[in-house]
Symmetry: C2
Subunit: 261 residues, 2 copies
């Protein structure tokens, strides 16, 4: 690439993998364009979760930019938790399947003791028409089929979390209570490995609610007991909403932690 960066004005190498936008009026830095191209490759499955992507030098050659430009693109993807850099080894596609230790999105911590794993219990897993609110959240047509999973998480034999998980039926064909129970790692690992659905980002809405009759029984608390209601909408590539999860947390001996800065 010559010294005068053509950026969005005069593309001088409009070949296969050239990086410049051709003539668009909107300005976008080269590294952002590289980032988009990398994102597209990730979404398209060119590199699978856990695998290494090409080295910075290789990518620089492929996109015909300098290493520094590729570097900045990768940096942003790394802070977005889409890629993981490992010095001396390479850059890898992030994955929920081998995330050491703990659930990536679960912010629940015990008052005392280490944040060890929790026992999972799938209550049921069935297909039904998505209710209106679920359909709206997941961008489904009303009447579309959805999967509903209900499960609990327990620590030391005591149930702490009751989850109600809604998924679009399409991408999750073949998901059963058995497969959920059999899979060793976190649920998002299974989604990734078995269904090619990778969770990128989520928004949570948190409230305090009173336990209803059924919930009280499942969580072994009194009816009316205050519970944390955590509604999570998870998104996959392209910011597409793909999971709606409604959790009820018993915060008698656990708390939801959050860091602000």
């Amino acid at each position: 690439m010559p010294a005068s960066n053509p950026a969005n004005a005069s593309p001088d190498s409009p070949d296969g993998e050239g990086a410049q936008l051709s003539g668009g009026p909107a300005f976008s830095p080269l590294y952002q364009q590289i980032k988009s191209l990398l994102l597209r490759s990730l979404q398209g499955g060119e590199w699978k979760p856990g695998e290494a992507i090409p080295s910075e030098m290789d990518l620089a050659a492929r996109f015909r930019v300098s290493q520094g430009t590729v570097r900045k693109a990768i940096d942003e993807l790394a802070t977005d938790n889409l890629l993981v850099r490992r010095q001396g080894k390479g850059t890898f596609v992030a994955t929920h399947a081998e995330e050491n230790i703990q659930y990536r999105f679960l912010r629940l911590a015990p008052d005392e003791g280490p944040a060890t794993g929790m026992a999972r219990d799938v209550l049921d897993c069935r297909r039904l028409r998505a209710p209106a609110d679920v359909a709206r959240a997941l961008n489904l047509k009303s009447g579309d089929s959805a999967v509903l999973i209900r499960r609990t998480l327990s620590r030391n034999g005591t149930p702490v979390v009751l989850d109600e998980i809604w998924l679009p039926a399409g991408p999750f064909k073949g998901l059963t209570a058995e497969r959920l129970s059999d899979y060793a790692g976190p649920m998002y690992g299974l989604f990734e490995t078995e269904f090619g659905v990778r969770m990128i980002r989520a928004e949570e809405k948190i409230r305090a609610v009173a336990a209803d009759n059924v919930t009280a029984g499942l969580l072994k608390v009194a009816e009316g007991c205050p519970l944390l209601s955590v509604e999570r909408l998870s998104h996959t590539y392209g910011d597409k909403p793909i999971e709606l999860r409604r959790g009820l947390y018993n915060t008698a001996s656990h708390f939801y932690r959050n860091d602000l800065n």
Copy 2:
């Protein structure tokens, strides 16, 4: 700076503002050292909140490094929300005092309508001995004096938040209910402007609790009503804990929002 970066081994310009660590065995990149120096200047008040810091070129000259190295240091401080970059104008010390629109750390949003400001009501502000748990959280000696503020936040005339705020008495000499009530902006702006205490970072522990008698009266809910309990520990420079805030949120028509990635 010569091509062979001396880093931690052979300082070649040990003058006033030279950047290298002298002889320490622990490796630390130059830009991290610059970051520390900038942090020290911020902490020491060389540049006040809202002011501009010197340009990248000036800082590069001062620390005898390249612009790119200063740049990376500033980048990190900017993502930490300690500095704010404004293209064409300069780099500024972040401040709570002019943060347009909304509270920086308050994650409460209304179910409907825009997240407009809320009405503040200071119930009381007094000095007393810090209880054991507060003293522990704020690193005070047991028996040290502390300020306790109680206040509510209301939207459309309805109280939504009841805060109980603990501060060490020392740095907040002269803080009264009147000054709290009179100050126009957010409380952290007042802390910054009047007491030189800038909040950098906070951790929150969230639970669901039942409203007790007194709380129920203040928030105009029934006794036993589920409320969100938000315990926030805020830190200032040097990661020093400086505020313990216990909030009770009525989440009937508001929710606590959180983004996960």
